[in-house]
Symmetry: D2
Subunit: 292 residues, 4 copies
Amino acid sequence: MNLSGIIGYPVTPFSPDNKQLDLNKLGSVIDVLLEAEVDAIAALGSAGEAAYLSEEEWKQVAEYTVKHVAGRVPVIIGIAELTTEQAVKYAQHAHHIGANAIMLSPFSYYKLSETEIFQHYETVSEASPLPIMVYNNPATCGVDMTPEFMLKMVNNIKNASMIKESTGDIQRMHKIYTLSDGKVPFFNGCNHMALEALHAGASGWCTAAPCLIGDKPKQLFDAVKSGDNKKAKALFYQQYEFLEFIVSSGLAAAVKSGLSLQGKEAGNPRKPLLPLNKPAQQRLKSMLDNLG
Amino acid sequence: MNLSGIIGYPVTPFSPDNKQLDLNKLGSVIDVLLEAEVDAIAALGSAGEAAYLSEEEWKQVAEYTVKHVAGRVPVIIGIAELTTEQAVKYAQHAHHIGANAIMLSPFSYYKLSETEIFQHYETVSEASPLPIMVYNNPATCGVDMTPEFMLKMVNNIKNASMIKESTGDIQRMHKIYTLSDGKVPFFNGCNHMALEALHAGASGWCTAAPCLIGDKPKQLFDAVKSGDNKKAKALFYQQYEFLEFIVSSGLAAAVKSGLSLQGKEAGNPRKPLLPLNKPAQQRLKSMLDNLG
Amino acid sequence: MNLSGIIGYPVTPFSPDNKQLDLNKLGSVIDVLLEAEVDAIAALGSAGEAAYLSEEEWKQVAEYTVKHVAGRVPVIIGIAELTTEQAVKYAQHAHHIGANAIMLSPFSYYKLSETEIFQHYETVSEASPLPIMVYNNPATCGVDMTPEFMLKMVNNIKNASMIKESTGDIQRMHKIYTLSDGKVPFFNGCNHMALEALHAGASGWCTAAPCLIGDKPKQLFDAVKSGDNKKAKALFYQQYEFLEFIVSSGLAAAVKSGLSLQGKEAGNPRKPLLPLNKPAQQRLKSMLDNLG
Amino acid sequence: MNLSGIIGYPVTPFSPDNKQLDLNKLGSVIDVLLEAEVDAIAALGSAGEAAYLSEEEWKQVAEYTVKHVAGRVPVIIGIAELTTEQAVKYAQHAHHIGANAIMLSPFSYYKLSETEIFQHYETVSEASPLPIMVYNNPATCGVDMTPEFMLKMVNNIKNASMIKESTGDIQRMHKIYTLSDGKVPFFNGCNHMALEALHAGASGWCTAAPCLIGDKPKQLFDAVKSGDNKKAKALFYQQYEFLEFIVSSGLAAAVKSGLSLQGKEAGNPRKPLLPLNKPAQQRLKSMLDNLG
């Protein structure tokens, strides 16, 4: 699998009482992403509230996503579980339903040692043949993996073949690029650093932004690739405030509020998460109007 | 309920393959704590690996603990769930089985706002009549609550009446004491700061240390209370290296290894958590020998 | 020299236009400290604005302080210079004028390696026979020295014999105590952690507070030593808000404003430092009234 | 003055005993920079060890630099003083000798409030007509200024017209660009973030690297401007390890060692700063060989 470009992240719509999945609406969100020309779909990431789903719901979302995408683009399934046993179960399920790859991050209560993390990845790799994107997001997962350690896993664990970096520290990408001689593909997971990540050699950009702003991220990607730096910079700064806003507001809450503002109601995030408050909704509306 | 002194934290023993609870062994660990003269038992805290249990296991541990303690000391049940719905379910269960209080902390994937946390506590308080110990442990739970905010919850949420502070920043305790005029009871959750916490006004010390070192923590508590500062300091520094070690090694792994060294096998922690490696076990053995 | 108890820090009074020293007023401030029963005087510390004095002024303050104290208590001279050459010059001067010890901290523009810091201390030690208090204050000096490293200097550099710790992290003191078997004297430089530092084994407390609140710090020290923990806690919390305030406001600005409020005008700090603004002055006045 | 491109930073050569300036060698270093096609020269920055010079030395370096450059490119003089009085004196001197601009940063012992910093800049601006580059480098100067605050100074202080950002946080540049609608020129002061800074809209790159690697930085600047992103990325990663090395080793020590390796001896940095140790020198030699 040779992944590059924009990897789109759908949110997970719920029923109005927040208790049930709304899979039809999930289908609509996926359609929005495909219309925005994303190069892959990643279900059950942060934006998808995977951490707040029951096991049954998790499996339903994974399965529905693969069926609905139906091979038009690759489907990646996010896995961030507290126990190795659960991560293995999910990785096997992802393979079983025909997903193309998994994006695997540790999720910690107790801080994990590198030995513990390595064995976690190794055990998952042995349980499923899917390619693994090693995903570092300390802000949500409570564990920070260095570029050196992630490359060690890529070099020593069979299916580990890609990296997603979400710390927002551009130096991490420089290290990945330098230490691997530019040979290990890495993806940007920090929306408001997309311009720099692409220039620094990222293969692509993992983002929920296309749920709300269509192919603007794709346009930015293309401008960087074509060397039109003036256009790339203009496109980036046009989206910048929006990108920073959805990250700092929480992706699920922000994207769901935005979909609602656009008449594509997808329910609220699950408690304790709250939807955006009124002033934040108005700020988002104004940003979306400017980008529309 | 007027809690003070040493609140003991049992680990949760597993079968050798790590897949089943071993409730008989849990009973033995609880007995060790009671022999160490703890003033209360707190099940399902960090040391108890609550984050790594299934719902059914969680309920079994809670129920078994209440039955086994059988009123000899109060039983507190730890609750740290990602969704408010699950926290409510557990709080109701804790009340249903006859526990005396709950120790409630947020547990985050997405960072939570104070509004989100407040509503989480309020919803749990409305669902169960048990007293709530507001528990701040950013290192494991991914959310940091200020003294000011925790006191706001104690003052405005019916059952919230106590605080447990585990950041290891003694200034947090000064703030709690000062801002509440010494009236809101707070407990120390940072083992290697116990001496200072008690002098700063903490009502008690929440600790898994008595699983391994008997009534040494209780002796320290008593020495501080009686003004024997020379003895208190000596007792503290006698335990210091051990206390710092079990925290930095991970409580569950360290206490389980220690129990095994003492011939009270309680199984390993759940993966990705690993038991202590050989050098760490030897260091622990040496510390326990010196304290024995 | 066997230093213990309260080490008092005078501010450095200036003329109204801020351009000249006012040595008569310095004498009055020193008298205030001696009346507050301090056990030693430390000139040219943070509170003394040493960093903002010319070489000539620095020497005048050092010399005047030694003469004015006239052997009633030991005099310590603070040295925090960017170059080793200047630190040597000041250490020799301190010896020449009859001071009893120097308190030496690195002061950095470029971050310093442990090798660079070690050679700095060693060179000063070789240039002057005075005992050296190794002083760690990263907030002002831009360099953080670990307990392990400071003990290495105490053990290997002839005149280095004491430590002053001002990070506000009580664990540093635990480490110093444990690693030196309680044999290396250490002093607390974090005002609002005085209670815990003394219980943790600190030989004394370095503070400018007696400039404004008389023998309250000394009373706290005595209460801890006598095991009257109730009184010690009460005295500490009585002073707590004040102690936290003078640190967070900047010692020189806060103490000079306080002296002015008490009718003992000592001028303003040097620019860019500003005196306390009106609301802060009023808050300080209210705290001093309550402590009076 | 419309500054852009590469702003080159000379080191300050000393005599072999470190006690005297070697102005002839300073001239040679400046010549190296001019041959590397820098667009401006900035004397007395971090690389120039300004913090370790006496007042007389400082003035000699400033004056010599202006004379030696002789109008071929603009000369900027760095000013980072603890007192406002000294900063004013230096700003006036810079104007007096015919420099083209000053680069002004606060330098703190006590942490400074925004009010204190603002008045510092304002006072300097009133004392000298030279354009001011507001320079943020918390790692050396101990004060961190937000983009919002620096823009407030640019908008409200007469001569403040440019910003140099050295935190290494690319988001600061995004904020400066966004909040000023791209109208306030900003410069990159973090060598190993040069690629991203230029793409994010930086007018130029402040660097001592051309002292050792000639026009490589200028080539990188030109490649970004011309939209040759493949070449820009290749040039950046070619220099990356070197750029990261000279920052983490300390610019003055690293550049002086490098000059010595290239047969252009410029003396050692001043103590407590030490020259690179042998292994670091060998690593530097290897990097320079690869870049040569």
